[in-house]
Symmetry: C2
Subunit: 153 residues, 2 copies
DNA sequence: CCCGATGTTCAACCACGTTGACCATTTGGA
DNA sequence: TCCAAATGGTCAACGTGGTTGAACATCGGG
């Protein structure tokens, strides 16, 4: 490689990968294995109240069939439960279990730890500038909200 | 979502996805379709001289079989060629074709365009702070070099 | 009361990666 | 010098996680 600055897109790919790898390593050290990156997004989405497969599908930017499979996998791992719809028998609400909340808390802890380490290298100011830059640009390009997250390749 | 700051990892995933989507859209507008994100990394790696499947494999962090398949696909698209090894009959060096170089140039153009647009939203200073922050942190965490790029999910 | 929209699931398929075995060539040490 | 290990590559079987397409039951508004 002998050219100018590295494109941001490439750096983002590396940074995302880096953080996710570390997250999984450290969760494994705490006894959490058998989980995939997408789990976190489902847990976050369902954290503040039940969601359903369709909502998850649009959040993740995949088909509802794929979202449903994902929820099944997570249910098998005891992270969420699919109850019966209260007022609408079509819906199968996804709720986070106690175990799911523990994973969520552990992941948040690790993320804080990692961002702390980043701050140790480049300083807290630059970390926050980066967070703010990303947030502002993404919101500007997606009508005020943050875009869905989905596999890129 | 009702918690504190969005984790950097999540923002990186969104930003990467966002840029790659836009890249592909704009390349398509310029007549380039039928290509995948990984193509770019192969072209960059082979740009300054022939490389081989094994080197690509370690760059991309995949098996050499997967790298080989990727090169085959790109060869079929006329972006690279696999010649016969000059001094080592085992090697099948990968060289970029003229068409490959045109794609590389187009992609660079679009990346500049996109980063220009980012600068329009948050200012050039913050864009460069972000680039520098990422570069410094990644180098610090990977022994001075940038890490491989590979699918995360 | 019925027809369209909605939430879900089943089944077949496909893209892209993996593991494992194997072949040809090169290299280096006994 | 020669043979064994290392290296670059390929073939084949398989797994994961996504897709499309169809079907099903339930809900809601005319």
């Amino acid at each position: 490689m002998s050219d100018g600055p590295v494109p941001l897109a490439r750096l983002f790919a590396m940074a995302f990968r880096d953080l996710v790898d570390d997250l999984h390593t450290r969760l494994a050290e705490r006894g959490w294995d058998d989980h995939r990156p997408a789990f976190g997004f489902v847990l976050v989405a369902a954290r503040d109240g039940p969601t359903d497969a369709t909502a998850l599908a649009s959040l993740l930017g995949v088909t509802k069939q794929a979202a449903s499979k994902l929820v099944d996998t997570m249910a098998a791992a005891g992270l969420v439960e699919r109850s019966a719809g209260a007022h609408d028998a079509r819906r199968r609400p996804v709720v986070v279990t106690a175990r799911g909340r523990r994973l969520l808390a552990a992941a948040e802890e690790v993320y804080e730890e990692l961002e702390e380490e980043w701050a140790g290298v480049v300083g807290r100011r630059d970390v926050e500038t980066t967070r703010s830059t990303l947030t502002r640009v993404l919101r500007a390009r997606h009508g005020g909200g943050l875009p869905p997250i989905r596999p890129t390749w």
